[in-house]
């Protein structure tokens, strides 16, 4: 492993999204964002819904929408395990916007608890998707098993 770089792995049930060395990665934990660089102390964290930022050589190395899951961090490796992870170009912005509107409507109706929870989750997903897809598409690193 090259000095000063950290190995980032992102896996979902359907593919391995990312498997390469990066300079820094910013994760959205449930308690807030955390930047991880090589030599980080070991840590396990639940992830929230949010973008994951990759930074390579001081510049932006791409963003990935992560919908929950968990991360295991060691001094040389970050493993992100999530049910859903998407690159910006894979996100259908119009669909995300429609989902946001639908979820907002449902939240206003306030029918019963189960529906409210689901609507809230889908609203959060839609917001993350819209945020991630608004960034320019930057792709770095190998991502085996790429494509849908």
């Amino acid at each position: 492993m090259a000095a000063g770089r950290i190995h980032l792995k992102i896996v979902t049930p359907f593919r391995m999204l990312y498997d390469d060395n990066v300079d820094m990665v910013v994760l959205r934990g449930t308690e807030g964002d955390m930047g991880v660089m090589p030599g980080h102390e070991s840590r396990a964290a639940i992830l929230g819904y949010g973008p994951l930022r990759i930074i390579n050589g001081g510049s932006e190395g791409g963003r990935i929408a992560i919908m929950g899951g968990f991360a295991e961090i060691s001094s040389s490796e970050v493993t992100v395990v999530s049910d859903v992870a998407e690159w910006p170009e894979e996100i259908d912005r119009l669909r995300a916007e429609a989902a946001k509107l639908r979820a907002e409507q449902r939240l206003q109706q306030k029918d019963n608890d189960v529906d409210l929870q689901r609507a809230e989750l889908s609203l959060r997903r839609a917001l993350v998707r819209m945020e991630v897809s608004s960034y320019p598409i930057i792709r770095t690193g190998k991502s085996p098993g790429q494509g849908k």
Partner: protein, 275 residues
């Protein structure tokens, strides 16, 4: 010696069996391709989850209830088999491996996935607490989650002290390995220092159900690939056997035909001589 007619009838019957086995071979081959594809795309996910959780459990404090075997000595055994037969020793091997875990007189519980495993344990009068059918061929994560929750509830309520999982590992099309592992309690201790966010308890409460269902999901995918490839190889050799059988039967048939002709000729000749 068999008569010509009965040999002919056997050839025809073996031939139609051969058509069935050949068709089953082809169907299994295409199902295997599908099962392998989903296994291969999910394998990294399952392996990463498993190894991460193991490292996290090693660093966590051993007092968490998920890490301690219950007072109850009973086991819950999840056995994954197929719904259908004609796939060599696949179902029997997995069922036997599960059966060997059962201790006599302890009232161990079985959670069966697949009709064949259910029937196996039912015949042996073992207590099946829950059985699932129709999920082994094309496993979904939701099914694995449901099975996992049943097992976790049994463990949490103290109905059982340990939960084991028996499945068949897919090494290659030709080699499968029946294996079993303990799902609960999760092995803990062994060192390592780790920070937990938000807190150790919250993290484990979130992670353990996910871990259990992911491991079950992976095992179901492995097993389904094994089932299809076992059926494929089984049906392939059955087709080959029937080819051999037809060859030897045709030889018998031709011999019988020759004999009949010879006998007829001798009759005619001796009849002519007698005149």
């Amino acid at each position: 010696m068999a008569t010509m007619r009965s040999i002919k009838r056997r050839i025809r019957s073996v031939g139609s069996t051969q058509q069935i086995t050949r068709a089953m071979n082809l169907v299994a081959a295409s199902k295997l391709a599908k099962a392998r594809a989903s296994l291969e795309s999910a394998r990294p996910f399952c392996l990463e989850t498993e190894s991460s959780v193991k490292r996290i459990a090693a660093a966590a404090s051993p007092n968490n209830p998920y890490f301690k075997a219950g007072q109850n000595r009973k086991l819950a055994i999840i056995v994954i088999t197929g719904d259908r037969g004609l796939c060599g020793g696949y179902n029997v091997n997995a069922s036997k491996a599960g059966y060997s875990l059962i201790k006599d007189g302890e009232g161990d519980l079985v959670i069966s996935v697949g009709v064949k495993g259910r029937d196996y344990f039912r015949r042996r009068r073992r207590k099946i607490i829950r059985s699932y059918s129709g999920v082994s061929e094309m496993p979904f994560y939701e099914d694995a989650y449901e099975i996992g929750m049943v097992a976790m509830d049994l463990f949490k309520d103290g109905e059982v002290g340990e939960v084991h999982l028996v499945y068949t590992k897919f090494l290659s099309t030709m080699t499968h390995e029946t294996s079993s592992k303990r799902l609960l309690p999760i092995e803990s201790g062994g060192g390592g220092v780790m920070d937990f966010e938000p807190s150790e308890d919250d993290l484990l409460t979130y992670l353990v159900p996910k871990y259990i269902s992911t491991v079950i999901y992976g095992a179901m995918l492995e097993s389904s690939a094994c089932e299809q490839s076992a059926r494929m190889t089984g049906m392939d050799s059955a087709t080959k056997n029937s080819v051999d059988l037809i060859n030897s039967l045709s030889l018998q048939y031709n011999r019988a035909r020759q004999d009949a002709i010879t006998a007829e000729l001798t009759e005619i000749v001796s009849g002519a001589n007698a005149l």
